[in-house]
């Protein structure tokens, strides 16, 4: 079911699939799962989980996040901080579930980052979390994510290429749009295919002038219909909204005279904060995020748990890449249900 609701100043689109039966005729409402998609996706990425879990008695809700799909996309990158996006989600839960209600949350990729931040800002609204692909990294004043990625992977690393492209000396000129223009040249379908079919464990590099002429073959889990759906939505709403999330990862100052207020700034209040929500974390061993330097050690040698003390379980699925919930939908649905059942 496709629905729209006005929250936090934007019109938000979400998909909803409710259980087809009532739980033993008991009058208590079904538990709610809020699904948070990543980049470059949409609510649609959760279609398999929504079918599976609603048939197991959950009310499943999957929004297009701010900037994506049929949800409104404010123009300025300033409007894509975690506080804005979490504000949307609190508004959504309030409007659609109830303003004292807690929900289960499932997140992947950027949705996982938003889920971590939702747990930091409003742990009182989250019953438990199944998060995928992206670990929780507490804010660190000394760590500037973009510089870090630059040092690992160079300027062509996709996250670096998404950042501001022009600073003209003394003039306060911020020109976003370079990567969007390049995407437009390559074509929406090709851009999406490149991202969605990416199976390399190495970093995504987007050198300027790279050719995108080689044919892309669809993996078994991605149909022509799926691709058409993504393409139709991205052709309509574009990449600026989604890319704006990346533009909030680091501090933005130009010449010290001009500062923007980004997620990086605002999460300073959460330095040393732990995620105090029960969590199950799932990642594929072919996921490029699993291969970011330091990540395996971080996950398996205790630091992840020190920041997420209620990290109940870490699951590494062999032979599975970044879009694990689409590659192995039944397995992931089972992981989700098995975990939430314990609450």
């Amino acid at each position: 079911m496709n629905r729209f609701v006005k929250v936090n100043g934007i019109n938000m689109h979400f998909a909803e699939k409710t259980p087809s039966f009532t739980d033993n005729g008991a009058s208590r409402p079904p538990p709610v799962i809020l699904f948070l998609h990543g980049f470059p996706e949409l609510w649609y990425t959760w279609r398999h989980q929504m079918v599976a879990l609603s048939s197991l008695g959950y009310r499943t809700i999957a929004p297009d996040l701010r900037g994506y799909g049929d949800t409104e996309a404010p123009e300025s990158a300033d409007a894509y901080t975690s506080l804005h996006v979490v504000g949307d989600l609190i508004g959504l839960i309030d409007a659609v579930v109830g303003d004292r209600e807690k929900v289960f949350v499932v997140g992947h990729d950027w949705g996982a980052i938003i889920a971590w931040h939702l747990c930091l800002l409003r742990p009182d609204r989250v019953k438990a979390l199944v998060n995928m692909s992206v670990v929780f990294e507490p804010w660190n004043l000394k760590r500037k994510p973009i510089s870090m990625f630059k040092s690992f992977y160079g300027d062509d690393y996709y996250i670096c290429r998404f950042q501001v492209s022009q600073e003209w000396g003394f003039y306060i000129l911020q020109e976003y749009g370079e990567i969007e223009a390049e995407f437009a040249k390559v074509g929406t379908e090709r851009v999406l295919l490149e991202m969605l079919t990416y199976r390399n464990t190495g970093p995504i590099l987007l050198p300027k002038g790279k050719s995108y002429d080689d044919p892309v073959s669809l993996p078994s889990w991605l149909t022509e219909y799926d691709v058409k759906y993504y393409v139709s939505k991205y052709e309509k709403s574009g990449f600026t909204g989604p890319v704006n999330y990346y533009r909030n990862m680091d501090r933005v100052t130009i010449n010290f005279c001009f500062a923007r207020c980004r997620t990086w700034e605002m999460m300073g209040a959460f330095s040393n904060a732990q995620v105090k929500v029960p969590v199950k974390f799932i990642i594929g061993d072919k996921d490029l995020t699993y291969h970011i330097p330091g990540t395996k050690k971080y996950i398996h040698e205790g630091r992840f748990k020190s920041h997420v003390p209620l990290l109940d379980k870490v699951v590494v699925i062999k032979g599975v890449g970044h879009f694990l919930h689409e590659e192995r939908p039944d397995e992931i649905s089972k992981h989700i249900h098995d975990y939430f059942l314990t609450f």
Binding site: N8, G9, A79, T81, L83, H84, V86, G87, D88, I90, G91, D94, D99, L118, L121, R122, L141, F256, C257, F258, A259, R260, C261, E265, M266, M267, G268, A269, F270, S271, N272, A273, K276
Partner: protein
């Protein structure tokens, strides 16, 4: 009186804050957050009193003020920045949970701390400024429009405007206009009048402050200017935007609210005192005590220093299960 107050610079959240400190470092920490346009000096009575009653007292010059760093643009003065500054201070002292008291903008920071990091606050005393429910459809600048251009907050928005108006007076006069005010309206100036010109300096000083003490403030603002402090007001719409995650949130921290019945905004039927005694405030701050001090004005912790000190002490002691 303040001879044993230690001042030092602490790096927090990427900036240097000047911090006044007194009391035994082994004792529970009380964090005192001043308002506009003040400095840690506004807490001088409470610093002495609380430190001699078993507390380690820490009172910073907030971001933008006096001897602390002053980032140039208002985007660096959101409550998220201010809360991060405070968290950095608590981390510096290794304090897991602090007692916090805030006045005016310091109270707003305290409320925000209760939203962002309730895990770091044991109890909170708010002076003058209560917590109000966020209206998801009305941003501050739109609300203020209804008061017209004469409203001080509106006049503080445009970069440079209030600075230029203040500069027409010497700093000592500016400080007297603020500190000695007895106005309890919402501070709306008549048409074509800047609020600083509309505020009056009384002919004699009240008994709770001396010329020398006012000069302490004047010297600091002479050096650091008013842009930093005014930037707090310029970030109000931005604050409203970023507080969306706490839409409808109830403050869970035990809280005491203290204000004078002649504070700013208490004139007329719909003033602050009516609000804080009402159902709405209690419903969003369920663990709440309200103290209204008769004949108290805005700068209450200076004007009624003994009473405010006692109220703060008894509240924090109660939370520690200590009785007199």
């Amino acid at each position: 009186m303040t001879s044993e107050v230690r001042e030092k610079k602490i790096k927090t959240n990427g900036i240097w804050l000047n911090v006044a400190e007194k009391g035994d470092e082994g004792e529970p920490l009380v964090l005192l957050l001043h308002g506009f346009p003040e400095t840690w000096f506004s807490w001088r009575h409470q610093i002495d009193f609380l430190s001699s009653h078993g507390y380690h007292v820490v009172a910073p010059d907030l971001r933008g003020y006096a001897d602390s760093d002053s980032p140039p643009t208002h985007e660096s003065y959101t409550v998220s920045h201010l809360v991060a500054d405070v968290i950095g201070l608590l981390d510096h002292y290794g304090t897991a949970q602090a007692f916090v008291a805030g006045h005016d903008w310091g109270a707003i920071i305290g409320w925000s701390l209760c939203l962002f990091r309730p895990d770091r606050v044991k109890g909170f005393v708010s002076l003058s400024v209560p917590y109000s429910p966020r209206d998801p459809n009305l941003k501050p600048s739109d609300l203020f429009k209804s008061f017209g251009d004469g409203l001080y907050i509106t006049q503080f928005q445009e970069p440079g405007r209030a600075e230029a108006a203040f500069a027409k007076h010497d700093c000592l006069t500016v400080m007297k206009k603020f500190l000695l005010t007895t106005r309890s309206d919402f501070w709306v100036a008549p048409p074509n009048t800047e609020i600083i010109d509309d505020l009056e300096v009384p002919s004699t000083l009240p008994d709770w402050i001396t010329e020398e003490e006012i000069q302490v403030y004047a010297d600091k603002f002479q050096k650091s200017g008013f842009t930093g402090p005014l930037n707090y007001y310029r970030a109000m719409d931005l604050n409203w935007e970023i507080l969306a995650p706490w839409q409808g949130y109830k403050i869970v921290i035990p809280t005491k609210f203290i204000a004078g019945d002649k504070d700013i905004g208490n004139e007329g039927a719909n003033g602050t005192i009516k609000y804080v005694k009402g159902e709405m405030f209690k419903s969003i701050v369920p663990n709440l005590e309200v103290v209204v001090i008769e004949d108290g004005h805005h700068f209450i912790q200076q004007e009624m220093s003994e009473r405010v000190s006692q109220e703060i002490l008894s509240f924090f002691n109660k939370l520690r299960n200590i009785t007199e």
